[in-house]
């Protein structure tokens, strides 16, 4: 057997889902017996059959990937429940196996996949999609690029009428239908608690709180997921803030971004200048704008 053929044969078996009791399936990817399949390329020894030796790798593969998904999506796990989450991960990873050298990207296709597979979340589909968006945004904000921040003096030489401001690459803007930021904070709350409550008690308490948050009525929220001092934060923002920041991210000039964002606002006209000024002051203090590239800043 040539190297390529052997690796394809082994990979198909290693990546085949485990049984519910976390063992290797008896049926091979080609539909025949897995014992026979494993025996074709793996030697048995005096303690383990070919099947058992292959099974070590099959189990390692799935346990490693599950553990990565649990670490990255604790909120979705709380919404779906442990068993359903595990089953969903199984289906997701069969459809979307890792195509990256790093496990960091394992969940990169989860939102779009879950959108096409509403059977996993059922009536909680919108909530599940929102929490996945937030959890993936957090991963991206954690290690996304940060450019040097814009300073007030950087603006002096630029023409305000055609100014384009660029957002820090690590910032993610989310328009959501559920307050999933609260949900995620609840999920994480007990993980950092250090009281003397038993694990079982903590688990039960956490589940109750998470269920309570998960039952909340839908409420449209806008979030900026960003990094400040190397920690990731979720900041709730006004719809108008979201609209301005989104327009800036799309490359619209500053004046156009503000104009478009405020077109449909119910905010009284006289309050708008102060509100916009306040937002920009906060965003600048948080370092959300990049130092402009002179050529790109003005066009």
């Amino acid at each position: 057997m040539k190297l390529l053929q052997l690796q394809r044969t082994m990979a198909r078996a290693v990546m085949q889902p485990l049984t519910p009791s976390e063992r290797m399936q008896r049926k091979a990817p080609d539909g025949k017996s897995m014992r026979e399949y494993a025996g074709r390329f793996i030697k048995p020894n005096d303690r383990l059959t070919s099947f058992e030796r292959l099974e070590i790798y099959n189990r390692q593969y799935w346990l490693r990937l599950f553990s990565s998904m649990i670490e990255d999506f604790p909120g979705l796990r709380s919404v779906l429940g442990g068993r359903r989450f595990d089953a969903m991960c199984n289906a997701y990873l069969v459809d979307c196996p890792s195509r990256s050298f790093t496990l960091r990207n394992l969940g990169s296709r989860l939102e779009s996949w879950l959108g096409k597979h509403p059977e996993w979340a059922g009536s909680k589909q919108a909530l599940a999609l929102d929490i996945v968006r937030l959890e993936w945004a957090e991963i991206e904000a954690f290690d996304g690029k940060a450019e040097p921040a814009l300073r007030p003096e950087d603006l002096n030489t630029l023409d305000p009428s055609s100014l384009r401001l660029e957002l820090q690459p690590h910032i993610r803007l989310l328009s959501l239908h559920y307050p999933v930021d609260d949900l995620l904070l609840e999920v994480r709350k007990d993980d950092s608690d250090t009281d003397f409550a038993s694990n079982t008690f903590q688990e039960r308490r956490k589940r109750k709180r998470v269920q309570a948050v998960a039952k909340l009525k839908p409420a449209d929220i806008f979030l900026a997921v960003h990094r400040f001092d190397d920690s990731v934060y979720f900041r709730r923002i006004e719809p108008e803030e979201f609209a301005i920041l989104s327009a800036l991210r799309k490359g619209k000039p500053l004046n156009k971004a503000i104009e478009t964002a405020l077109r449909n606002t119910s905010m009284p006209l006289e309050e708008r200048p102060a509100a916009v000024q306040g937002w920009f002051k906060n965003w600048a203090a948080l370092g959300w704008f990049c130092k402009p590239d002179k050529k790109a800043a003005v066009s």
Binding site: L3, Q7, A11, R53, L65, K145, A146, H170
Partner: protein
């Protein structure tokens, strides 16, 4: 004292793997430690805390890069994005060499994120060596390949593991990261004498040595990096040091990680063997 041409001609001493639970201790207490080994993939990112921590560590310590997903033995071309990011990191750390495993783990663009065993064939040795050369030429730093722990053997193998390792490193003209714990684990799983392995390795190519702990199950041993180093592994280390001389040594501890001090103290046990080797050389 220079060791050999595969480890940057530098005596690095004893290091430990840089792991997140120790970041705070290292940055605030600044403990004495000869060097740290980083998992390259953890830092092949665009920004954020990991890179800031790395830069602070680089200000004060020597750092060597160790990868887990280059998959020299995979029958496909190296991933260009992986190589680009790895080279960026090499420039940042100025690592004297980079290491990764003599194994495969991806096929047709799909990644298993595991260190899967090689079939010990001449075809595999040729393809693997070619890939090692390509990676080294792209990165422009010496490359060392590490023997992995394995739990399976293949019918198609035409040689044993140490012959395969020698075949690859000779063809690639690269270094060896000799993991004596992996040798022990595989020797138990495949019933061979681990000293025969250590005695057969091309000593002049050993750039670095790994030591670690493992977990014993009823029918096999798993390389888990979550225990202290056991005596039989220290004996293999001693034999390796006798053969290869004073060599950069690193303790891996990746799961159930104890305090920095505990990990470092475990690593420093290697000094017993390193100093006796120096004495023997002096005499």
């Amino acid at each position: 004292m220079p060791a050999n041409r595969f480890n940057g001609f530098t005596d690095y001493g004893i290091g430990i793997g840089l792991r997140a639970p120790h970041y705070h201790h290292i940055l605030t207490r600044k403990p004495v430690c000869d060097w740290f080994e980083i998992i390259s993939e953890n830092f092949m990112i665009d920004g954020g805390r990991p890179l800031k921590v790395l830069d602070s560590i680089l200000d004060q310590y020597k750092v060597v890069q160790h990868g887990v997903s280059m998959y020299f033995g995979s029958a496909e071309k190296p991933n260009r994005e992986h190589l680009r990011r790895l080279k960026e990191l090499v420039k940042r750390t100025k690592t004297p060499w980079v290491s990764d495993h003599l194994c495969w783990g991806s096929i047709d663009g799909r990644y298993t994120h595991d260190l899967l065993p090689m079939p010990y064939t001449f075809e595999a040795a040729r393809l693997t060596a070619q890939k090692v050369r390509e990676v080294r030429d792209f990165l422009e730093v010496p490359v060392a390949v590490e023997n992995v722990s394995s739990y399976a053997e293949f019918h198609v193998s035409e040689m044993n593991e140490w012959e395969f390792l020698n075949e690859v490193v000779e063809r690639a003209d690269c270094g060896i990261l000799l993991d004596v714990n992996n040798i022990y684990v595989s020797s138990q799983n495949h019933s061979f004498d681990p000293f025969t392995y250590v005695n057969s390795v091309r000593a002049e190519r050993v750039a670095q040595i790994h030591i670690a702990g493992h977990s014993k199950y009823r029918k096999y041993i798993l390389d888990t990096h979550d225990h202290p180093v056991i005596d039989p592994v220290w004996k293999l280390y001693q034999r390796a040091i006798q053969r290869v001389g004073h060599t950069a040594t690193l303790l891996e501890w990746d799961d159930s990680i104890p305090s920095f001090q505990e990990v470092h103290n475990e690593a420093l046990k290697a000094n017993r063997f390193l100093s006796s080797t120096l004495l023997a050389t002096a005499v």
